[in-house]
Structures are given as C-alpha cells and as structure tokens.
Amino acid sequence: MARQQKKYTEKQLIKIANDIRKDVIKMLVKAGSGHSAGSLGMADVFATLYFSVLNHDPKNPEWKDRDRFVLSAGHINPVWYATLAKSGYFPRKELWSLRKFGSLLQGHPHNESTPGVDTSSGPLGHGFAQAAGMAYAGIMDNKKWRVYSVMGDGELNEGNIWETAMFAGKNKLRNLTGIIDRNNIQIDGFTEDVMPLESLKGKFESFNWHVLDVDGHNIEAIIDACNQAKAVFEKPTMIIAHTIPGKGVHFMERDFKWHGIPPNPEEAEHALRHLRSLGGKIECGDH
C-alpha cells in the first residue's frame, strides 16, 4: 500500500528547510557540542527528502513498505533529528535534549533510541554499506521501496565506501540512491588538501553508478535528481549535492573550523537573527 505524501510547494519546502536550520542552531547551542557546518549545509536536502521524496509514515515508523533512509555521515544527525521531529516522528521538544543523558537523541544515530532511525551509524563508511544491504534485500524480495543514504565528502576517504560502491555497481542496485554532501570541508581542512576526491563524478561512474551533480540548496534540482534516480533502471544513482557548509549563517559558511563545533549562545543568537532567506541557487559568499 502506497501512502500519499502531502505535496508541498517549493516555497513551502524552503520555509521548512529554514525552520529546520533554526532548530539545528538551537539544538547545538543547548547541547554544547556537535557538528554545525554539515548540519546546516544539508537542511535543504533533508527538507526535500522528508517532505517531498520519501514514501514514509511518521506515525508508523516501522511501516514495512516505507522507503529506507540511512544517515552514513552520522555526525550531522542534528539536521536529521530536526527533520524527523518536523515530520512528526517525535515531539519537537525532544530536540532540546540532544546529546544529553537519557535523551532519545544520541550523539550519533541509534535505531533503538530514536523513532524513524533504522540502524546505528557514526563511524564513517558504515551506513552506506548498510543501505546497500537493505537495497540488495529489497530487490531479492521484489519490494517497491527504495533506499536513500546520505554521506559526507570527507567520509569518502573510508575504504568501506568504495567496497560498497563496487558492490552496488556490480549488483545494479537501482533502488539505491546515495547523496554526497559535497561541501569540500572535513575536520583537518579542505577535502582537496586532506585527501583529494576529484574527479568524484568520474570515480563513481567508473564503478557503474549513474551520477548527478546538483546544487544542494536548489530544492527543485534535488527533487529532479531523485526522480531521475527512480527512472534509471540499470544502475544505482549517486547525487553529488554541492552545498555550502554552514549555509545560512554567514560566519560559518565555508569555514572548516565549524565542522565539529557548536555555536556559543551569543553566536547562536546572532546566527538566528541573521539567518538569510535561502531560496534558489548557491550564493557566492558575500561576507
């Protein structure tokens, strides 16, 4: 039985993404630790996935025909948690307990703690393999549901990612859509300095993937790419979502020092006040 997602307009999705960003900033400042840049950079992708692309039912997280989602880059889970709460998987007030003792929201994703989370991930490279395992089993059982997995670009340094890429290419996992958060930063600096990834598109294409480059802040483009992935029948699809780390908060944008730290209360207040409207294309940094 397919469930109908409510259809949101692009304008509504932009607003949802902005609400998610605000919640992410509040969560991080309350938690006192966590990853700011990737979480903010992926808000548009998460809003699009959960409010337009995924076939899911927040009131029934274990619905067996749901599309599966695995966050391989477990450290950006503030944006996932904020999106899950916004979708109705759990009350929004839970967000303020992120990373705290007794919270539903562990520092990294854990299936037994959080409604809507199917696996545990965090050590990089692990989630993508689990997503491919789900996709393989889905094809084995002739299921219609699809699997989506978000990974970071720094995460692609892990060997396990390429083992999975080879496996998915070999087995033509057409129901698997990977999304790379291509924000060009990782903890020690810019990805091309730490461990160059280019030509990233060429790498996945040579592993027998269908690869799409999209502007990760252009909601229409993200929807189009996900639809195209559904139409490609002989390959898995990798969407390289070009994002600005820290998107929306001008003093965080493109600065790798924000990869693994939260804003302090003054910075958060400043960020919330200045959170820019985020329609359209990637903006050139104007700071």
Partner: protein
C-alpha cells in the same frame, strides 16, 4: 569415566577415530537451517568453498551473496539486510579477517544495532599451520567476547558445529561461531545434546577441572584418559564462551578446587579470560591456561605447532600436573 548421558563417540580413545573438519558441520548446519527458514541468507568474501558456505550456495543460489574480498562491507551489508528487511544473514570468512578486519562494523552496525547477524570465523587457531602467523586467528574470541549482546560459540567437532549453526540461526541477535580448518576427531554423536549457554561435563573426576573448547576438547579427553591412574580429571566441553555456563563450571570447581583451561587462542581474553573472570568474583581458585602465551605463531604442520606451544595431549598433561601442585582452597 566418560559421562554416559552425553552419548559420546565410542571411538574416542581409538587411533582410527573418524575425523571431519569442523567447517563441514557448519556447511551442513547452514544448509539445514536455510531449508527451515527462508529468511536465512549467506554472504561470503571469496572463500565460499573453504568456509563450506558452498553447500548453501549450491542449493539456494538466490539467497547467496558474493561480496568479494571486502569483509567490512560484508558486515555492513549483513546488518542492513537484517535491520531493513528482516533477513538472517550468515557472514563467513577466515576469522583473521572477520571479525579481525571488520570489528568496528561488527561492533556498531551489528551489535549496537542488535542486528540479527551470525558471524562465522573459519580457519581459527594455530592449527591453520603452514599459512603462518598472519592467518592464525588467536585473538578472535577476545574481540568478540567483549562486545555487548554477542553470543560466542566454539564447537568441538563437526557434529556439534552443525547443531551450533542451527541453534544460532534460531537465536535472535548477534552470534559469533568459531571454526577450525583441519580434520578434527568426531567425539560427539547425533544424540549428544547442544544448547547455547550450556557446558557439558564429558568426563567426571574429582581432582581437577579441565575446561576446554573447540578441537582441543578431544586432546583434553585423551590427556585425562592417559593420566587417569594418578589424576582424576573432570573434563568440561565449554562450547559456549558467552554466555558462560557458570552453574556447571562452579559445581565442578567446588568439587575439585583447581582449573586448567584449554584453547587454541591467546591465553588472555578467550576461554581462560572468561573462566578466570567468573571465578575471581564467584569462587576464586587457581586457574592455569593452556593456549598461546602472548606470542604469534609461525608456519609449520598443525601437530608441530600444537606440540611447540603445549596445546596437544602431551602439553595438556604437563600443565595439569603442574596445576596439581597449586594450593587450592581448604
């Protein structure tokens, strides 16, 4: 005297006792479990024949997944198949690679998620022989035993391996089963009971408790038979390392007051570790270990290596005699 209620092989103390590789029992058990439960799938890393996953593959080609030489990926894929689609994956490779190379995936994707995945570590122990130290898994029990939720089973022969495989298929949650390469004396019979978490007193005695696992259960039984005139050994097949059968071990130790553990593994962290930890808090007595004394192995024939490191019958007797000198509780 061998404990009659376990219906052990009548050939135990004969030279020509039947020998079958323990991994063959795994292959048979997986096939049988697969026939009973269609959710069972098998993944393998380019070692389908030598792990005997081939029996399953040949009957259920559509439920077999060739992963290539990628053990980390195998563990992750299996976790996803279990968590996202209700499969019961058996993942097999050599123990040095799985759980050796993919421990983090086993820890997080499988154990922390409580994924219903069975990890099969083949070619474990020093008896892998000529391949040398790189391929002799002597640490696998230690690294699996410390993981919360993990069940750890070491079958003593091919028949027990078949039963253990079917038992872990029914158990809900992560399990590790350790297999050996060499043809191993078949000491149990179809009628010998097997249950996860249950150790069995294969030989009753009063002077010392010998707790063994894997192929060395046979060596321990032969050793105890050879010295029976002087020392009365109680020999326990402790095929489940975790959860440890405290009750059976404590009952025996309260009678004998001394323990020798016997395993093809580093002395620290495996069976010795499990038994010593339990006894330290429940009933402290001297415990001596037969196993690898914090060293790496080397190439050689299995019997040469077992001899060098005191893990054969002769070495076990020596350790038992030494242990008899330790002062025990009053």
């Amino acid at each position: 005297m061998l404990n009659k209620k376990f219906n052990l092989s009548k050939e135990i103390f004969r030279k020509n006792i039947k020998r079958v590789p323990i991994r063959v029992g795994y292959g048979e058990g997986l096939l049988e479990a697969g026939k009973k439960d269609k959710n069972i799938v098998a993944l393998c890393c380019d070692l389908t024949e030598s792990t005997k996953t081939s029996f399953f593959k040949n009957t259920f080609p559509d439920r077999f997944v060739e992963v290539g030489v990628a053990e980390q990926n195998m563990a992750g894929l299996a976790a996803g198949m279990a968590l996202g689609a209700g499969k019961i994956p058996f993942i097999s490779s050599y123990a040095v690679f799985s759980p050796g190379l993919n421990w983090s995936q086993i820890r997080v994707s499988i154990c922390y998620s409580n994924a219903n995945v069975k990890i099969i570590g083949a070619h474990a122990g020093i008896s892998v022989g000529p391949d040398g130290a790189t391929h002799q898994a002597l640490e696998d029990l230690a690294i699996t035993r410390v993981l919360p939720r993990m069940v750890v089973v070491v079958p003593c022969d091919s028949i027990e391996a078949r039963k253990a495989t079917m038992a872990v298929a029914k158990h809900k949650g992560p399990c590790y089963v350790r297999l050996a390469r060499e043809a191993t004396p078949v000491i149990t019979s179809e009628k010998t009971p097997f249950k996860i978490g249950k150790a069995h007193v294969y030989r009753e005695g009063k002077d010392i408790t010998v707790i063994a696992c894997g192929p060395l259960v046979y060596e321990a039984l032969v050793a105890s038979e050879k010295i029976k005139k002087n020392i009365s050994c109680e020999v326990i097949n402790c095929s489940t390392i975790k959860p440890l059968d405290k009750k059976t071990i404590l009952k025996s130790v309260k009678k004998t007051g001394r323990v020798v553990t016997v395993e093809e593994h580093q002395i620290t962290g495996g069976l010795f570790g499990a038994v010593a930890e339990m006894l330290a808090s429940e009933y402290p007595v001297p415990v001596t270990g037969v196993g690898m004394p914090d060293c790496f192995g080397e190439s050689g024939r299995p019997e040469e290596l077992l001899e060098k490191w005191g893990m054969n019958c002769k070495g076990i007797i020596k350790t038992i005699e030494k242990a008899m000198n330790f002062k025990t509780r009053d």
